[in-house]
Symmetry: C2
Amino acid sequence: MATIGDVARAAGVSLSTVSYVISGKRPISQPTRERVERAIRELAFHPHAGAQALASARSNVIALMVPFRPGINVAIIMEFVAGVVTAARAFDHDVLLLTQEDIQEIDRVAARSLADAVIVMDVESEDPRLPSLRALDRPAVLIGVPEDTSGLACVDLDFAAAGRLATRTLIDAGHRRVALIGASRERFERRANYAVRMRDGVVEQAARSGLEVHVLPCEPTYAGGVDAVDQLLAEDPGVTGLVVHNEAALAGVVDALDRAGRPVPAGMSVVAINAANIAEGLRHPVDSITVPGHDIGGIAVQMAMARLQQDSPGETRLVAPTLTPHGSVAPPR
Amino acid sequence: MATIGDVARAAGVSLSTVSYVISGKRPISQPTRERVERAIRELAFHPHAGAQALASARSNVIALMVPFRPGINVAIIMEFVAGVVTAARAFDHDVLLLTQEDIQEIDRVAARSLADAVIVMDVESEDPRLPSLRALDRPAVLIGVPEDTSGLACVDLDFAAAGRLATRTLIDAGHRRVALIGASRERFERRANYAVRMRDGVVEQAARSGLEVHVLPCEPTYAGGVDAVDQLLAEDPGVTGLVVHNEAALAGVVDALDRAGRPVPAGMSVVAINAANIAEGLRHPVDSITVPGHDIGGIAVQMAMARLQQDSPGETRLVAPTLTPHGSVAPPR
DNA sequence: TCCGTATATCGAAGCGCTTCGAAATCACCA
DNA sequence: TGGTGATTTCGAAGCGCTTCGATATACGGA
């Protein structure tokens, strides 16, 4: 494996000149630079990551903490991850994978100077990792918005806006009785921020039109969706517009509506919030606000990089939702 | 951030003694070791990863190349990843994430000494990465089995055995007409090894009982499953046992059988191969051979670690399948 | 008592890079 | 022609750790 010394010898310059050619931190004359670059190419030189990290106090690695606990929405997680990796590479950084099982991993990675910055996914309202993250001596970016964001950098979909958008779509189509099939009761009880913000958005938008919303928590399974529909139609058969914020239950919801003689969209208009590539796999495709996981992951990296340049104050960035129609919203009959 | 020098001073020993206490590569007397360990604890010392990598020529990092291309089975990917990370941490290694977009990433990571070993997921029969992997100057483990495994370390589910097991389950229940709804035509045409091996296992097991198998490729969507069932029932209504090796289509298959008056299991017995946590989300749960992604990921790490100790010859490890019944197999009516 | 052997610890070199200050070179003008 | 400042390159120190050979100490046997 060639070293920077080999390159220097081949190009007939000093070690430091090669280093400056690579980093661009000092001006190097055109001819010298060309000789060095040629030597680098010919020797297929790649700087030793450890040596670089040691000398420069920068690892060029971002740590990414991914939730692996069961029940998590895998598709969307993968999108985030892909977005983070892609963006990180664009900044010439690599991504180190951490699991959520052990909070201490954050500190270990920082203390060992393994990573320059940390991105944490799936942050909850009262996340146990918040103290560590606040105390961390390097940039941290949270995907998800905790209750108290002071001093933190956060990014997420604007779930309140998504709730409003979904609801407005139904109302604009003429629906006057609207329901929300949301996250599981457990999520609401733990005050999972996305679930709460979403619900508040739906309720608020409906209130603007003088409407009330029937809110049903729902287990994140096919059966959960079926149960929620059964319950809804029993308690409130006049509902004609439905917002579904529960990806795993969506198929069950659609099927149950079908079997109840309320097929989408003739018998029930539906708007869902979910990961991309879900809406198409259903018996009846559903208008969707997809979580732009790739974009959000990219923004998280940008925020981390910015904070690596200069430490910035806390900031929460909420990405605006967009709705993709699939013909599941029709006027009420 | 404390350095090993701080620890040495605090414990009143030399630098090298601290290093040997940490690595255990030379015997250190009990009292000395205790003093050093106390100093480490009190200073919260963590060795600098870059310095360690530089001095020891070992980064303690495994690179993991994950497929992010669309259409991939996300759930199972996540299981692999989780298995790899968990196992890696058990060996005191971290995991660096690479995407499949760029083959050169493997070489870059190796040349920079960023990773000690590489694990590559979703390897195809004629994978474009095979040359790089064969030429690599450090251990590589493939998840998936290419056509020519010479000199390579591979691990995967034993799909042929899975095919035999699924088929035997149906035959033992009394079924004499059996079909396979498999991967997409495109997968078969590209000779995706898992698709082919699975099919061969099914066909072989059936042949042992003197039976033939109706094999249908199937698009990996809900609609694909519906289409496959329609086609099957049209062409071969006498089929009573079905093996489904197409996770995304499974829901469509089950629903289509339902609507065709052939509900599972009364009208059709079904065994599926899929990721865990899929079978339960269906209208009718289905007997499943789940891909043990977590285990396979762990084995991949073990293989990499073993090859870090001493280079071993090529080896392919196939994990035996296990079937979890969910009541979707009944005697033919 | 002295030597050989085993055990425990030390010291220094070196891993491959970055970075700072200084040296060398050059152009230009007085 | 010498001096000045700007431009380009060099040299050496140092980042924090590992590891090899050497030293120091202890112990048992002759």
